[in-house]
């Protein structure tokens, strides 16, 4: 009996109730589709959204859980993971809103699509809390494989096929590289797979710097692929261009958030001693992402590719918080991801609406849109301006928080580069806005001239409208009212034991090593790295 209760304590399955709800929703969608057939397709998306919202609500009840570890230490339900899981689930909910009409119009089966998307969400949510190598790997692959499937969902469109193939090959290769890194980590730490134990194991190894550096680099390569940081970004524009737009929206928000959650947890918890190294690597990634993402976005003519490159640039901004490696840095990352969720999904909703109505996503075709569709113009403009960091929209505050955190951590060069990059980004965002808003009626593009009458009562259009208005409202107000949101982000970082213990661990080990190296000059000095 005692063993059983002890074991169930360690298992602590209750903690993954939110994921359980997602699984139940997933099953409900699949079975509902099987039993009821096509008739049910109308209602299934709403069931999925309801399930996701329920899951978010249940996350709320685990805020500040007393015992935040579950599944024998391989899953951590601390506040950090809760907030990331919330972001991922929310992004899926909004993505489902925008995919209903899209999938129907492109002739795919909606319920399967939603089932795959829920699986991806499940992977992402587990990844956000994964605290052990096997868990990380399985969650990562659940997310990735579902993403490949979604990318290739339009199976008669060879562009979608090609995007899926490229994504799969590059993704599989990068996760193999990541795995190779984790296998080295497993060996180096003396057979540990749980992240905090790995950190302790690594600290005891003498002379393993090179091997642990290799492991670190390999693992960062895998993460950088997920968050599409330059130079691991090559797949991004192609995949974004070829895949169904709702999938792109999910990849650029949900999948990316999961990647950042993994980055924070893995690097901070498992590599506390290598902090200078991974900060250096992330500095390089951030610089390259900001420069390349924003510079190449300038030259794009397709809205989808523009958003693809802009999302690379945005990831560069977020990495400033990672490089800062302070509480404020992580908190501002979370805050930025929260507002980025809404503004980017809003932009994608606008993009989907436009391409559903006109069948194109060329920027020049947006000319004069304000005359035909004021709501779409307003929503898309506000979201794009917010991405560009124009006050008083949410993106401005997100950037200010990030830059301020970076500046406090002494990253002057990076912040100044970020400021320059955001000026550049204003230029290409405003180009789209200019097309829509500024063009005279006689300069209107043919597509817009033949724009169909705006009818929100068509099947599947209402959710799109809801999604657009929701993102519009949140993007306009989240910045001005950012105090509670930022407090949320901040407390989630503060309450997360893992980050705290990692930093104390770093201090202790450094102090110990100092003593050692003072006593014995020949001792391997890890500190001096």
């Amino acid at each position: 009996m005692e063993f059983a209760s002890n074991f169930s304590d360690q298992l602590n399955v209750g903690l993954i109730l939110p994921e359980g709800i997602v699984v139940a929703t997933l099953l409900a969608v699949l079975i509902g589709d099987l039993i009821l057939g096509r008739r049910a397709a109308r209602g299934l998306p709403y069931i999925a959204i309801a399930g996701l919202l329920l899951s978010i609500v249940s996350l709320y009840f685990y805020w500040d859980a007393e015992n935040p570890t579950a599944l024998l230490g391989s899953f951590s339900g601390d506040d950090l993971s809760i907030i990331f899981r919330g972001v991922i689930a929310l992004s899926t909910a909004v993505t489902i809103l925008m995919s209903i009409r899209y999938v129907e119009q492109t002739g795919g089966a909606l319920s399967e699509f939603i089932a795959i998307m829920l699986t991806a969400t499940l992977g992402g949510m587990f990844l956000a809390g994964a605290n052990e190598l096997v868990m990380i790997f399985v969650a990562l692959e659940t997310l990735s494989i579902s993403s490949y499937l979604m990318t290739g969902y339009m199976k008669r469109d060879s562009r979608s096929n090609e995007a899926a193939l490229k994504y799969l090959l590059i993704g599989a290769a990068s996760s193999a590289v990541f795995l190779y890194g984790s296998s080295l980590l497993y060996g180096l730490s003396g057979g540990k797979t749980i992240l905090p134990e790995i950190a302790q194991g690594l600290a005891q190894v003498e002379g393993g710097e090179l091997a642990s550096a290799i492991a670190l680099v390999f693992m960062i390569a895998g993460i950088a692929f997920k968050i599409s940081a330059v130079p691991f970004h090559q797949w991004t524009p192609d995949v974004y261009e070829g895949s169904p737009t709702p999938v792109v929206a999910f990849l650029s928000v949900g999948s990316k958030a999961a990647g950042f959650a993994l980055a924070i947890r893995l690097l901070v918890v498992a590599f506390p001693l290598e902090q200078p190294q991974w900060r250096l690597i992330f500095t390089a990634l951030a610089i390259l992402s900001m420069i390349l993402g924003n510079a190449v976005a300038l030259a794009q003519t397709s809205m989808k590719r523009l958003l693809a490159y802009s999302s690379i640039g945005q990831a560069g901004f977020v990495m400033i918080g990672m490089v800062a490696a302070t509480q404020a840095g992580y908190a501002s990352m979370i805050f930025y991801l929260l507002v980025y969720l809404f503004m980017n999904l809003g932009a994608f909703t606008g993009l989907i609406l436009f391409s559903l109505r006109t069948g194109t996503d060329q920027i020049t075709e947006y000319a004069g849109l304000y005359q035909k569709d004021p709501l779409l113009t307003l929503g898309l403009s506000i979201c794009l301006l917010s991405l560009g960091g124009i006050p008083p929209l949410a993106g401005f505050f997100g950037k200010i928080y990030l830059f301020w955190a970076g500046w406090q951590a002494g990253l002057y060069g990076l912040v100044i580069l970020g400021l320059v990059a955001s000026v550049v980004s204003i230029y290409y965002y405003i180009r789209v806005v200019k097309m829509m808003v500024v063009k005279e009626p006689q300069e209107m593009s043919d597509t817009v001239r033949n724009y169909p009458a705006v009818r929100w009562n068509l099947p599947g259009m209402r959710p799109l409208q809801v999604g657009l208005v929701f993102s519009l409202v949140v993007t306009s107000l989240a910045g001005i009212l950012s105090n509670p949101l930022f407090t949320l982000a901040n407390t989630s970082i503060e309450n997360t034991e893992a980050l705290k213990s990692a930093s104390t661990f770093l201090e202790e080990t450094t102090a110990q090593n100092k003593e050692v190296s003072l006593a014995d000059p020949m001792a391997p000095a890890i500190v001096e790295k």
Binding site: A328, A331, L385, I390, P391, P392, F396, F397, I400, Y401, F403, W404, W407, Q408, V415, I416, L419, V420, S422, V423, I426, Y427, I430, K434, V437, V438, E440, S482, N483, F486, T487, N490
Partner: protein, 514 residues
């Protein structure tokens, strides 16, 4: 009370923006009503102003984003009050002079009101981050106002404006982040930051960044290239606002943040700033001579006149600081008048080309009243006694001469050149024989004259009653010299050196003898 200046136009703008289609024509009248309310509010605030008291006489403070040190802290003192007045006044004039047959009136008036709100917010902000926020807020409305209702090349001009101003904003932000980080202050509040003392070297770096940022906005040579383009392409009311109010954001920033936050570095750099001012003034004046487009002439003259403010600020004597504010007010009014009239000429004749226009002063078939008013405006700009321009420029030079004689003399040459280029323009455009092409000009209705006449009356009144021009700044002298003479001289010995012994507050009230 102060928030009303920001939120009335914002809410009004939103209401106008969402007016139903059939009411779209009413948006102008609605905007006029809102503009009048704002002006009334400004006057009501002005009435509470006690010229003998320094510091903020009205303020509002709410905590907003604590983690960021951003508080919603508004305040108004003698430095901000005249500028806020100019803002409200010119906004009303801009709304009034906007064409009644605009395309997309709802959007236009909504943007105009947002612009007014952003500018008022920037002048009122007592938190540097809040100032930056409002400084950036006016970017997008102005971009659209130029890009949609501008001239033929408006897209280029608007984008150029946007990029220059965005860079300016980034530099200003970098400087603000820098000062808060280096002083370790807990918030971005202006008064908190002012009480901090920074080592000279970091002050210089931060001041240079800040100067570069504001120099783009004001603009000074060689960062000025966006301004003539923006003025030429913008419609008349927008030019009025741009020259009259928005450029003042930069000079206001120089006075408030440049001198206020980095006094030691300012002292050190002052001689170079004075030379920069002289170069900018001479460049503006010389470039104005070469222009063929009347609006470009006025735009370059604007660059030259803004440089005097830098000269006065560089000298940083109590008198010259008063003069800087006076020059902001008088330049705001005069350039508004000039752009207004040039706009009318352009609208009536269909061209602003100095080479084609002739003899418009013809009393029967020309534009006699417009012409007379323009001559008055030009005289004011050139500093003819009896007008506001004379007073402000005179005290600028009077206040700066003792500190930087050579730079001041060079600027005086610039003033002389003002007369040259404006007379060249007036001579060509208004005198001589009216060519046949312009002999059937449509009559200018009275309503078009009203704003120009109001401005002209203000300019003359302030010129004849300089007390009213500088009265605002009496506290100004008090509050600015407050940190220049008393606190600074005590806290920072370095700044004592720039105060000339004979120049006390007493002397700065020399105009009483007029």
């Amino acid at each position: 009370m102060l928030s009303a200046l920001i939120w009335i136009p914002v809410i009004g703008g939103i209401i106008i923006g969402f007016l139903p289609n059939q009411l779209a024509e009413k948006s102008r009248s609605l905007a006029l009503v809102i503009g009048s309310i704002i002006l009334a509010f400004t006057l009501a605030i002005g009435l509470q102003f006690d010229p003998n008291q320094s510091g903020l006489f009205l303020s509002e403070s709410f905590s907003w984003l604590d983690q960021l040190g951003l508080t919603y802290y508004l305040g108004v003192d003698g430095l901000a009050l005249p500028l806020i007045f100019i803002n409200s006044f010119l906004t009303l004039i801009a709304i009034y002079t906007s064409s009644t047959k605009l395309a997309r009136p709802r959007f236009y008036y909504a943007l105009l009101l947002f612009l007014s709100a952003g500018t008022a917010g920037a002048f009122l902000a007592q938190n540097v981050l809040l100032f930056f926020l409002f400084y950036e807020v006016e970017l997008i409305p102005l971009y659209f106002l130029i890009a949609i209702w501008g001239g033929t090349n408006r897209g280029y001009a608007a984008t150029k404006f946007l990029l220059y101003t965005a860079i300016s904003g980034a530099l200003v932000l970098a400087s603000f982040l820098g000062i808060v980080w280096l002083t370790g202050a807990s918030s971005f509040d202006y008064d908190v930051l002012r009480s901090q003392v920074l080592p000279l070297s970091s002050q210089i770096i931060l001041l240079l960044i800040l100067l570069a940022g504001f120099a783009i906005k004001i603009p000074f040579f060689p960062f000025h290239t966006w301004l003539p383009d923006a003025h030429v392409e913008a419609s008349t009311p927008i030019s009025v606002l741009l020259a009259g109010v928005l450029l003042k954001l930069g000079t206001y920033g120089l006075l408030r943040f440049g001198i206020g936050l980095f006094p030691d570095a300012w002292n050190l750099l002052a001689p170079y700033l004075a030379i920069w001012a002289a170069v900018s003034a001479l460049f503006g004046a010389l470039a104005a001579i070469a222009q063929k487009d009347m609006k470009r002439v006025v735009a370059y003259s604007s660059i030259a006149h803004m440089a005097y403010i830098l000269l006065a600020a560089a000298a940083a004597t109590p008198l010259s600081l008063t003069a800087a504010v006076a020059q902001m007010i008088s330049h705001g009014l005069i350039s508004a008048l000039l752009f207004l009239l040039v706009g009318v000429v352009g609208k009536k004749t269909g061209t602003r080309d100095v080479d084609t226009l002739r003899g418009l002063l013809n009393p029967e078939r020309g534009l006699p009243i417009i012409g007379s008013l323009l001559i008055l405006g030009v005289m004011a700009s050139a500093g003819i006694p009896g007008m506001a321009g004379f007073i402000s420029e005179f005290i600028v030079f009077r206040g700066s001469f003792s500190v930087f004689p050579i730079a001041t003399l060079l600027c005086l040459v610039g003033t002389g050149l003002t007369a040259v280029y404006f007379l060249l323009m007036i001579n060509r455009v208004f005198f001589g024989r009216l060519p046949l092409a312009f002999s059937n000009l449509p009559a200018v209705p009275w309503s078009d004259h009203v704003p120009a006449i109001v401005l002209a009356i203000l300019i003359v009144t302030l010129g004849l009653q300089p007390n009213w021009l500088v009265r605002w700044s009496e506290t100004q002298t008090a509050s600015l010299s407050n940190f220049d003479t008393e606190t600074l001289a005590e806290v920072r010995p370095a700044s004592r050196s720039l105060l000339q012994p004979g120049q006390s507050i007493k002397e700065s009230q020399w105009w009483r003898s007029l």
